[in-house]
Symmetry: C2
Subunit: 277 residues, 2 copies
């Protein structure tokens, strides 16, 4: 039984995509995964802004006015109390074969609605366990920050934890810097300051990461984006992971390193959970 609740291609209910779509052929597109809570998509403006940046970088046209609101309305109308809305935008079909985006007809929207569940209470309270991924990311990518469709690194690093007690794998780059989890950003607390790796060379600019940066500033918590290594993790006063589905979740252990629980993580988690948006 699938977790897929419904899908719409360019605004029309449907479950299939032309085989010549460049998203399938080359990973030529971007996506967003949006949490829908009580029928309301959360942090829509931040998702929209990241989508805009990604499409601009790839030279793909942003959907015409009204198209995305229509997609969102159709999907949220049938959403259970908690769901994930996934919006993929590809460069669309082409009349020619080959990498060069020539003969492109029009960008394509592939929208799907998925069941999801809240994170187990025990994980929220005691924190999650992270292992260190064997797979190493490059230390720089031409598409850093963008949530594009080239996600084999995330797939294969996530595959490493299947059937294990680890919640996720922590990704390091080839220069031994901490990048992120496979589907989350990471923050550490050090001397009451939040530190998180920058996403201008590698990694994804997570929407929940952006919300944490904004809300920490509002709460008067100092934040800095800087390169982190396992040495920083081992010496951290606290650590948490973020994504739009789970929010802010403390980390209990990274490999052999036990991380202290920290009240800043708990405070941020509760604050963001309670936001209206």
């Amino acid at each position: 039984m699938s977790d897929l609740l419904g899908s719409w291609i360019d605004g029309v209910a449907g479950t299939s995509v032309p085989a010549d779509d460049r998203g399938l052929q080359y990973g030529d597109g971007i996506f967003e995964t949006i949490l829908v809570r009580a029928g309301q998509p959360r942090f829509l403006e931040a998702h929209r802004e990241r989508m805009r940046r990604g499409l601009e970088r790839l030279g793909i046209q942003f959907p015409a006015s009204g198209e995305l609101p229509g997609d969102i309305a159709r999907a949220t109308a049938m959403a259970p109390p908690l769901a994930i809305l996934k919006i993929i935008i590809t460069r669309g079909s082409t009349t020619r074969r080959g990498y060069a985006p020539a003969g492109v007809v029009a960008a394509r929207r592939i929208v799907s609605l998925w069941k999801t569940t809240p994170l187990e209470r025990a994980l929220l309270e005691q924190g999650v366990l992270l292992r260190i991924a064997r797979l190493r990311l490059p230390s720089q990518s031409p598409f850093a920050g963008i949530k594009h469709l080239n996600r084999l690194e995330n797939v294969m690093a996530a595959a490493e934890s299947i059937g294990t007690p680890w919640y996720d794998s922590l990704l390091l780059d080839s220069g031994d810097h901490v990048v992120s989890g496979t589907a989350c950003n990471v923050f550490i607390v050090k001397s009451a300051m939040l530190l998180t790796p920058p996403v201008d060379l590698v990694g994804v600019a997570g929407v929940m990461r952006a919300i944490v940066l904004r809300e920490a500033a509002r709460l008067g918590i100092a934040v800095s984006q800087r390169l982190l290594t396992m040495h920083d993790i081992a010496g951290a006063d606290g650590m948490f992971i973020t994504n739009v589905r789970i929010g802010v979740v403390p980390v209990q252990r990274v490999g052999e390193h036990v991380i202290p629980m920290n009240p800043i993580a708990t405070r941020l988690a509760a604050h963001i959970e309670a936001l209206d948006a």
Copy 2:
């Protein structure tokens, strides 16, 4: 009017793929582009071997015995004198959302046949013009050598040459090493020896590259895989690009650097063109 002549999904004629396919969702799969000449797929064993290595690396099952031969027979039966057969194998559809390849049903074969044309005679005789891509590749990728579906780098570098007189863009990595063109491997001639960049850290292990390495050895031409920079290109006695569609094609110029024509390139081109396989 599209260059697409036909497509088959898991052996059945069709033009659409389930929207939840992981090839589309994450670029989770591999592909091969095979030249079909007079109804015969060329270098099939080399394509099959690269496919096997790629699928093994990604933990995707190789198609069952008989499936690929059936795909190839269906497509080549309707091929014009010259065509491209593209075989994509994805991890297939999943019942769950998320990077981890859990809940996977079965790998999926997406086969398509495309029109193609031989390279213009003038380019074969006088050589092609390459520019240097603005986009820089990472200096190492966890999936080096594999022809996987995460091809945004190739797409965006190829986009740089659209509407220009340049035939293709030469890709350098972040350490200033020459990697390849966007859809071809590169060789230089230096003191009667062939040199080509290794593909164990970055780049694609092209089938025509493998054929050139094999046939050069048979012809008694020395070959070495080693890191190359623009300094090596500027000082080369000759240069050529390779892929299965165009074969071996001399390079006339890279950016400002004029490259001499070299008889070794011409000899290899004619030799490989005449191979039966």
